[in-house]
């Protein structure tokens, strides 16, 4: 067998071996048990997004009042304040539970949160609803304490203890 073929095979073997390692590492990277943590923004970025969200609500509330199935359906849930700042969860029609209990979708490390604090779920029309699950300190949407399951508009802050959550596109 020619020297060239063997050299090519030798380097080719190393290449595929490393390719396997890289693919395996990629699998782990995206395998964070369903919760994906995106880059935590710098202070300035966080401030900007908060500003943007403050301006956004009135507009969006109108839209959600009318045809709520429009382009404004949220696709992810973002934690904007608290120890979990930067965590995002993709919204795929499943119920998201929040609380200190281990089996919650978002496990809050927050002294003011109850073990099963609140849940966020889509109703039949695909509108996302937040419901307080009898927590001790309550769940706030904007500034009002929730008493009944309430539809969430894009960018409206949901406050649980020291944690603030928003739905985003």
């Amino acid at each position: 067998m020619s020297e060239l073929t063997l050299t090519v095979m030798r380097l080719g073997f190393l290449a595929v071996l490393w390719l396997f390692v890289i693919v395996a590492v990629q699998v782990i990277r995206s395998d964070l048990f369903g919760t994906r943590v995106t880059q935590r923004g710098t202070r300035r970025d966080a401030g900007r997004t908060q500003q943007a969200s403050r301006q956004a609500p009135p507009q969006q509330r109108q839209q959600s009042g009318g045809g709520r199935r429009g382009r404004n359906t949220p696709t992810k849930l973002v934690v904007t304040e608290g120890t979990l700042t930067g965590t995002t969860v993709a919204l795929q029609g499943q119920t998201i539970s929040l609380g200190r209990a281990h089996d919650s979708t978002i496990v809050l490390d927050d002294d003011y949160a109850s073990s099963r604090h609140a849940r966020i779920y889509p109703d039949r029309d695909g509108q996302w609803i937040v419901e307080d699950l009898g927590s001790t300190n309550g769940t706030y949407l904007d500034r009002t304490r929730l008493t009944t399951p309430t539809p969430i508009s894009l960018g409206a802050p949901i406050r649980i203890g020291k944690t603030v959550i928003e739905l985003r596109k």
Partner: protein, 482 residues
């Protein structure tokens, strides 16, 4: 226990963990990859040695593919949420190991030796047995917590397994280490490899119950938490047992492995750094103490400190009661001549190592033929298995599963370190095998079982929790309305 949750029921408004994807298709894709790489290497060895694609290529590829396929189907059916990486990596390592063993079978130097037997067909059979045991573990072990019931039976079982090689008539002394047993008609078995798993079950069950006593009842002294005397008992007992193994079976590796595994699990269970300090001190004292009077261990230390001298003594044929071996030096030369990219499959001279070139020293063959780049990839693959084990331990919901996963992956990591370190000359050489790569039936079968248990724990950990009963508190919130 709980049945598998149908993905379509995820859309109901129950409170539950987010629907974790089962990732079985990822596993399948990686498995195909993991079968193709060894087949490529196999063809490469044939081309380099005989200028032709080896005749057994198809049957070897099909055999490996069949093993991977059976393993995958078993996981898909019985452990659908298990970790997607463990099975493909184990298959890849096993496949590449088979190729290296086959390559060494074709070395003329080794064929000329007295003890030569063709090892690759046997290793393929052992691998098939290993995968069968893997499937059996995944099938019969529906829930790893069942193992918790057998805590003390496991302890007795592990001790029996460890003592078996010392039983006269059953034990089998091979080249200074008494770690094999001979089963008439079946061949030899190394019970220590299986004792590793059984002992991890015992440690996990024991530490789960005792960890509070070990962690909390202690006095603080110079920044270290000193445990009470009665809590020190078990660690002393394990230490004595591992020293006894060292003395009577002259098996440094197994002794180090068991003690190290216990210290790792103790640390994880109690979060006390002092245990690691104690563990290191005790193993150092034990190793130095035994090495000072056990000639077999002394030879190993000599060969580690000055491999060149051993090589020359062996060449000169000096016989002063101790068997001098040139293996250690030959292994170092193999790594050296491999360089960064290696000589290529089938083109190295690692068969100069002679005896145990395809078992204890197999890493040297890789070092020579696929070079530093290849060995780094292999070590990363081992690291990935360990990482998945630790990740499984983090995700597991029950303390027993956590400890068992940590113990098994810790033992796996220690074994890789002890063997690789020994072959590379970092620590004295011990008679242990590289998991999956090296020739050795017991080792490959036991490690497949280990992977099976890890997969079972990770399946339980990643499975979406069943929907809990309606929360009564929710009703109360509705009543107290402002």
């Amino acid at each position: 226990m709980s049945s598998t949750t149908n993905p379509s029921t995820q859309h109901t408004s129950t409170i539950g963990a987010i629907g974790a994807p089962s990732r079985r298709n990822t596993e399948l894709a990686l498995l195909v990859f993991a079968v193709v790489i060894p087949v490529f290497a196999y063809a490469n060895v044939g081309l380099a040695l005989n200028d032709e694609v080896p005749a057994g290529l198809l049957s070897y590829g099909l055999g490996l593919g069949l093993m991977a396929g059976v393993g995958h189907l078993a996981v898909r059916k019985f452990a659908p949420y298990a970790d997607p990486l463990l099975l493909p990596i184990a298959t890849l390592l096993n496949g590449i190991g088979l190729v290296a063993i086959w390559r060494l079978d074709h070395s003329e130097r080794l064929q000329a030796s007295r003890t030569f037997v063709e090892a690759a067909p046997r290793q393929l059979m052992y691998s098939a047995l290993g995968v069968a045991l893997f499937v059996a573990v995944v099938f019969f072990l529906k829930d790893h917590r069942v193992l918790q019931r057998y805590t003390y039976i496991s302890m007795a079982g592990a001790l029996v397994l460890l003592l078996l090689p010392l039983v006269p008539g059953l034990g089998h002394n091979v080249f200074g280490a008494r770690i094999w047993i001979k089963i008439p008609g079946l061949g030899t078995l190394q019970p220590g490899e299986f004792a590793k798993i059984v002992l991890a079950v015992f440690f996990a069950g024991y530490l789960m119950v005792k960890r509070d006593a070990l962690a909390l009842a202690s006095r603080r002294f110079m920044g270290l938490y000193l445990p009470r005397g009665r809590d020190l008992g078990p660690i002393i007992v394990v230490w004595i047992i591992s020293i006894l193994i060292l003395v009577f079976e002259t098996d440094l590796g197994t002794s180090l492995l068991f003690f190290g595994m216990f210290v790792i699990m103790l640390y994880v269970a109690t979060e006390r750094t002092s245990w690691i300090v104690f563990g290191l001190l005790m193993s150092a004292v034990g190793a130095v103490g035994v090495a000072s009077f056990e000639p077999h261990i002394q030879t190993r230390v000599q060969a580690w400190l000055d491999p060149m001298r051993e090589f020359e003594l062996s060449r000169a044929g000096v016989s002063d009661g101790i068997v001098h071996s040139e293996q250690a030096m030959q292994a170092l030369w193999a790594f050296g001549s491999g360089g960064t990219l290696g000589t290529g499959w089938g083109q190295g001279n690692s068969d100069l190592i002679g005896f145990a070139a395809n078992s204890d020293f197999i890493l040297a063959t890789f070092g020579e033929e696929i070079g530093l780049a290849g060995v780094m990839a292999l070590i990363l693959l081992y690291a990935l298995i360990v990482e998945r084990g630790v990740r499984t331990a983090l995700a597991a919901r029950d303390p027993f599963g956590k400890l068992l996963a940590i113990g098994l992956s810790g033992a796996f990591a220690l074994q890789v370190f002890v063997v690789a370190g020994g072959v590379m000359g970092l620590i004295p050489l011990t008679g242990m095998t590289m998991p999956f790569l090296a020739y050795g039936g017991s080792s490959v079968i036991a490690n497949w079982a280990l992977i099976g248990i890890l997969l079972r724990i990770s399946d339980t950990a990643r499975r979406p929790a069943p929907a809990p009963a309606a929360n009564p508190d929710a009703e109360m919130t509705q009543v107290v309305r402002p």
